[in-house]
């Protein structure tokens, strides 16, 4: 049932503007890959090419090893691809009940028995009473669930999801996301999800592919992507990042946050000499600089780098945690993401420590 998706060097231009410039993605059978990109990065175009609504200019798309699109002229039409499509905002058929929407892609006999529809309502966590309702009676989150149920009903080998949670409020988003992830893994369907939301991509994808200006910047499991992004740009795109000048000496680097253990992702980063240092704000812990003691609000973690003196510039309270902006000794700036139990006030001198290795890159143009 479920099948691997391969996109090989897929390229597409609209009116001579390149939207995709040779994209490779492989989604292993039964897994979900999230394509993360800003608006205009070409992610929706990639999805539409996989679904069959557009043909690539060059490159191939294979589903379960069978080519469904090869360049501009040899494309299997969408209705014969067996690719489920969950559109933005659902796009439910307004003239059909929820049950008829879900049953739309089923064969007549299957539609008549209604077993599959009941099964899918169950799968996406909606009660059987929903079958008789009409799309306009549903909330936004319910509409998305029905859209997914409709796409999954004909047991497609692959499902593509186009920003399926956009426009939902935070609580509903989390809940709907969990319901969708659960339904997809229960059906064991291969899925390609495109989104501009970092948290969504990192939380849902077995792998996350970062699409930048029509090309894949990096494809990796979420933790690898977050901890070891290929360059500073990707680092900043998938999360907050502190970037500092540093001088590398083998496995350590000297920077405004002290001497830190480092890892090089970028082959171009010199083993010794000037580098860009990328630190995640949650790697930074702070302690109020009381001589000889460690105050609550920061904790010294064994194995962390050396401590550095810093001044608190501002504190942004976020609830469970807070973002503390720091002025470093050399005039540089850093942010620390800390638990909000006890926060220093602005102007306070603190010591900052970095836990875990930092990532170094060849210095970028300033």
């Amino acid at each position: 049932m479920t099948a691997e998706l391969q996109c090989e060097a897929v390229a597409k231009a609209f009116a001579k503007r390149t939207v995709l410039a040779g994209v490779d993605v492989t989604v292993a059978a039964g897994t979900l890959t999230a394509v993360l990109g800003a608006s205009g990065s070409g992610k929706t175009t990639l999805l539409r090419i996989v679904a069959g609504f557009e043909a690539p200019d060059t490159g191939r798309v294979l589903i379960g090893g069978t080519p469904v699109a090869e360049g501009r002229h040899r494309a299997v039409p969408p209705e014969r691809r067996g690719v489920g499509y969950v559109a933005q905002e659902g796009a439910l058929f307004p003239h059909l009940s929820v049950g008829a929407n879900i049953g739309f892609g089923l064969r007549r006999s299957e539609r008549r028995t209604g077993h599959r529809v009941a099964e899918l309502l169950d799968l996406v966590g909606l009660g059987q009473e929903y079958a008789a309702m009409h799309p306009h009676e549903l909330s936004g989150g319910e509409q998305r669930r029905v859209a997914l149920a409709r796409a999954l009903a004909p047991r497609p080998s692959l499902v593509v999801l186009d920003e399926p949670f956009s426009g939902l409020d935070a609580a509903l988003r989390t809940e709907t996301r969990a319901a969708v992830a659960g339904a997809l893994s229960e059906e064991g369907t291969t899925a390609l999800l495109v989104t501009h939301d970092q948290a969504e991509a990192l939380s849902m994808g077995r792998e996350v592919a970062v699409l930048r200006q029509g090309a894949m910047a990096q494809t990796a499991p979420p933790d690898t992507l977050y901890r070891f992004p290929v360059d500073v740009e990707v680092a900043r795109f998938v999360g907050d990042a502190i970037v500092l000048d540093g001088t590398r000496d083998g496995d350590t680097v000297d920077c405004a946050l002290g001497r830190l253990p480092c890892v090089a992702i970028d082959d171009g980063a010199a083993a010794r000499g000037g580098v860009d240092v990328m630190v995640r704000p949650e790697q930074v812990t702070i302690a109020t600089a009381v001589r000889g003691a460690t105050a609550p609000g920061g904790s010294a973690i064994a194995g962390a780098g050396t401590a550095t003196e810093a001044t608190v510039v501002s504190v942004t309270y976020l609830g469970a945690e807070a973002v503390v902006r720091l002025a470093l000794g050399d005039g540089g700036a850093a942010t620390a993401r800390v638990f909000s139990g006890s926060l220093p006030e602005p102007g306070r001198r603190v010591t900052a420590r970095v836990s875990g290795p930092v990532v170094v890159y060849r210095p970028g143009p300033r």
Binding site: F14, A15, R17, V19, G37, A38, S39, G40, S41, G42, T44, T45, R48, A51, G52, F53, E54, P77, P78, E79, R80, R81, G82, V83, G84, Y85, A87, Q88, A91, L92, F93, P94, H95, L96, F104, G105, P135, H136, L138, S139, G140, Q143, A147, R150, A151, A153, P154, R212, Q213, V232, E233, R236, F237, V243, L244, G332, A333, G364, R366
Partner: protein, 542 residues
């Protein structure tokens, strides 16, 4: 500082605000071959009368054609035709658009009543309106009457199309403009009007084409244009080729108009991104202009609907007893005439829908060099004076499809061909508001092009289908010239009975037919009003 700059640069690399998407997010692929074949089949039927007429014009020979075209009357006729079209088209554009804006966007008192009153004139047969005006004042014969009657009959086309387009606009656009400091008039001029342009031009094109070939009204008003001249040529000499040669001039004008509309519209497309209105738009207060707007619309409604209805009532009340007796004697014809008229109307509407559907579907869903040709080809049914088109169809039936000759079926075919542009416009207005993603979902669920149209697009567009059908039905009821040429001998309709009686000045006898026609017309108005340009939209989530 340097880091901040680097951050900005990195961020700007990810966000490309001007990135090109496929123009509408819709899949506007090339038209599938099967659909193209169906469209071409429909177009061949639509263009058939034109081709037959061209053949007839050629068959008369060059000298005869030269003689027909250099008659002394020709420049006058040309002038009359062009002047009427040139006055009526912008007039209908302004009245229709202003009416649509007032009804859809201002705090007009009794908006729904105004909507009915403004749509109603389109369903009133032009020959009834003409007779009403002539009996008000004989000064209405000639240019003034021709302009008045054509304007009142056809401005609702612009009104219907523009108000449907206005309803489809995302209210957020106008709200944004207002929040940027634009006054209502500026919002109209700078935001709404540019987006209404394709709809407005489409409506005005229909009006102009109608004005060029109008016959029934002009004949009643004794106003000489090509159409009426063709009729007199045909009556005096029964020369098919002379009539055909004259029609070539109107064919030329029609092609010029189609080219002009294509030029003015440019690349503007009927397809919109927004999925119809999700929220009701905010309505502008009329303020001090309120009496003016209400008064203006009142005057319009009085002239367009009040006069025909008033005259009808007058005929009923003023008739002498002997006239009433004569009228009563003729009442036996009323029911059969009504049955024939309604039957023809339904037949014409159904067939016109069948012809228009593939065309409207293709032009709202696909792109490519065929699409422009398919769209403009459907307007060619307005290229000939009705009379000439009808004669051509009769000729074609006599020579190639004998069983159809002098049958009601042929008349139904003629109506369908004649009114197919109206059906296309009504369907296009609705179909273009349907979210293209919905089609794509259906396709990804295994439905092919035809299955998608049948199971998704058409059910969602049902109100639009109803509107298109009703519009054609009303125009069939209001047709006279095609009916008179092709109606099988011994049969009669409400229109022909009205014509027979009113031309013998037996107004009391004509009145019942007009009354039934008007009642049917107003019924059509009610059906049309709420449905034109509507889709079964998905309401916003709670």
């Amino acid at each position: 500082m340097a880091k901040a700059a680097a951050k900005v640069r990195a961020a700007s690399l990810f966000a490309r605000p001007n990135a090109v998407r496929s123009s509408t997010g819709a899949s506007r692929r090339r038209i599938p071959r099967g659909l193209l074949a169906v469209c071409i089949g429909a177009e061949i039927l639509i263009v058939a009368p034109v081709l037959v007429t061209i053949d007839q014009a050629i068959s008369g020979g060059w000298h005869a054609a030269q003689r027909d075209l250099t008659r002394a009357a020709i420049p006058t006729l040309l002038l009359h035709t062009l002047v009427v079209a040139a006055i009526v088209t912008p007039l209908c554009g302004v009245i229709g658009l202003a009416g649509a804006w007032a009804v859809e966007r201002t705090r007009l008192a009794g908006r729904r009543i105004w909507m009915v009153l403004l749509v109603a004139p389109i369903t009133v047969p032009a020959f009834v309106t003409s007779y009403a005006w002539v009996s008000v004042s004989s000064a209405m014969q000639g240019l003034a009457g021709a302009v008045a009657v054509t304007t009142f009959t056809y401005y609702p086309l612009v009104f219907l199309i523009s108000s449907a387009a206005l309803r489809g606009l995302d209210p957020a656009l106008e709200e944004s403009a207002r929040s940027l400091g634009s006054r209502p008039w500026t919002v109209f001029r700078r935001v709404a009007l540019p987006q209404l342009r394709p709809a407005l031009l489409g409506g005005m094109l229909l009006v102009a084409l109608d004005a060029l070939v109008e016959f029934d009204a002009f004949a009643a008003l004794k106003f000489q244009t090509f159409s009426t001249d063709v009729y007199s040529q045909y009556q005096s000499s029964f020369s098919v080729s002379s009539a055909a040669v004259l029609s070539m001039l109107s064919l030329g004008l029609c092609l010029l108009l189609l080219g002009g509309e294509a030029f003015l519209r440019g690349g503007a497309s009927y397809t919109r991104v927004s999925m119809g209105a999700r929220r009701p738009p905010s309505l502008y207060p009329l303020g001090r202009t309120a009496p003016l707007v209400h008064g203006g619309l009142g005057l319009l409604a009085t002239a367009a609907v009040g006069v025909p209805v008033g005259i009808l009532v007058y005929w009923f009340t003023q008739a002498s007893s002997s006239a009433l007796a004569a009228a009563a004697a003729g009442m036996g014809y009323l029911l059969p005439a009504a049955v024939t008229s309604i039957g023809l109307g339904i037949g014409g509407a159904v067939l016109a829908l069948l012809l228009a559907l593939p065309i409207a579907y293709a032009i709202t869903r696909y792109r490519g060099r065929w699409i422009g040709a398919i769209e403009r080809g459907s307007y060619l049914s307005y290229a000939l004076p009705d009379l000439v088109g009808a004669i051509a169809l009769g000729y074609a039936a006599l020579h190639w499809v004998r069983p159809l000759y002098e049958s009601l079926a042929l008349l139904v075919v003629a109506y369908a061909i004649l009114f197919v542009p109206l059906a296309v416009v009504a369907l296009r207005t609705t179909l273009s508001q349907i979210e293209p993603r919905m089609d794509e979902c259906a396709r990804s669920l295994g439905a092919g092009t035809f299955a998608t149209a049948w199971r998704v697009t058409l059910p969602v567009a049902r109100p639009g289908l109803a509107a298109a059908g009703v519009l054609v039905f009303a125009f069939v009821l209001g047709d006279l010239s095609t009916t008179q040429v092709l109606l099988p001998p011994g049969m009669y309709t409400l229109g022909t009975q009205f014509w027979t009686n009113s031309s013998t000045v037996a107004f009391a006898a004509a009145a019942p037919y007009a009354a039934v026609l008007m009642t049917l017309a107003l019924g059509c108005t009610f059906l049309l009003m709420g449905k034109f340009g509507r889709i079964r939209a998905l309401a916003a989530p709670r």
